[in-house]
Symmetry: C2
């Protein structure tokens, strides 16, 4: 369990390269098929496009969600980088909403991707494995922006980052590939649908 992905260095190097190439081809093919047909695209078609057997696809990605999360990992890494950049911007509240907007845009690269993201970003559960590096990275970067906005008084003191991220994910799911609608919903949630009711006790 500890060194599972470093299987004995030496003469097997060529093999490992094949495996990696297959994995990369599968990811590229999946991205292409999913962008064409959505996240429900035929996995057989993905394997065919990648030039490997269907069994190889299943060996690398036992479930469709695994394949989707591998694609999401790149998105998450990019969002983490964007988040770190925004951390030095002068307006904490704006920086947060800018980042949430980027989050929504990038997890809607194809229909169904946002739903997969919502699953992958669900609160930690007993059954599920530790969050991957990319998942932790995106969460940490977003949380840093969130806390800074909270410290600046731009975000209610009793709000929680996990909820804000879920809300953004929800907006992404429902507006999917309509960025203008996503912007409107995010602006509405940011300003408050029914503000000023003193709902926050601190």
């Amino acid at each position: 369990m500890t060194s599972d992905d470093i299987p004995r260095p030496g003469p097997q190097r060529a093999m490992r390269a094949d495996v990696r190439r297959n994995r990369a081809r599968l990811l590229a093919a999946a991205r292409e098929m999913f962008e064409r047909d959505g996240a429900g695209a035929s996995l057989e078609a993905v394997a065919r496009l990648a030039g490997v057997g269907i069994g190889t696809l299943y060996r690398h990605f036992p479930t469709r969600q695994d394949l989707l999360e591998a694609l999401l990992a790149d998105v998450y890494d990019g969002l983490a980088a964007t988040g770190r950049e925004l951390l030095v911007s002068p307006a904490p509240g704006e920086a947060l909403t800018t980042w949430l907007r980027a989050f929504i845009v990038r997890i809607t690269a194809f229909p169904g991707m946002a739903a997969a993201a919502a699953v992958s970003l669900r609160p930690e559960q007993p059954g599920r494995p530790e969050p991957s590096g990319a998942r932790r990275a995106v969460r940490d970067a977003g949380e840093a922006l969130f806390r800074r906005a909270q410290d600046a008084g731009d975000v209610p003191a009793d709000a929680e980052f996990a909820d804000a991220l879920r809300l953004a994910g929800a907006i992404a799911m429902v507006t999917e590939r309509d960025p203008e609608a996503a912007d409107r919903l995010l602006a509405l949630a940011a300003a408050g649908l029914a503000p000023g009711k003193g709902a926050h006790g601190g």
Copy 2:
């Protein structure tokens, strides 16, 4: 096309009763199967449970979404009634959020129902038929509550009801059968994630 559902009164009365009974049985069976297995439950199993052939299911409901919308129609009618009752409550803003909370709870009777509701409540599109009576009723009742809250100054003047409803639908989709999470997200969206930025131009 005009009198499609009133096919010649007279000796056919008994037949029509059979058709209606089949329809009612299919809806009851669908509700039961969907509550057990989610909105993706086997349609063959639904037909079996209803005691009719699979062809009869397809005759009544050509697509899965049609079946889901038939179940949603009851929910919509109930929500419309609730909305009319809330219209006389003394606190317009609270009445709106109370109704939105009821909306979220009732469109999550089973996994996948909220997604079907989000589809059925999408902004009118060229291809899709006129909204059904129930859809119009729920929209009208919600909009009345929304306008009243807006007039009272509880809701931003430039906000749109359609967006508020989509936002509630989005929250329902992502929290599905977790009412506490839904409450937290709705409270966050109601109070405003990053309020006070003067985002509203009026």
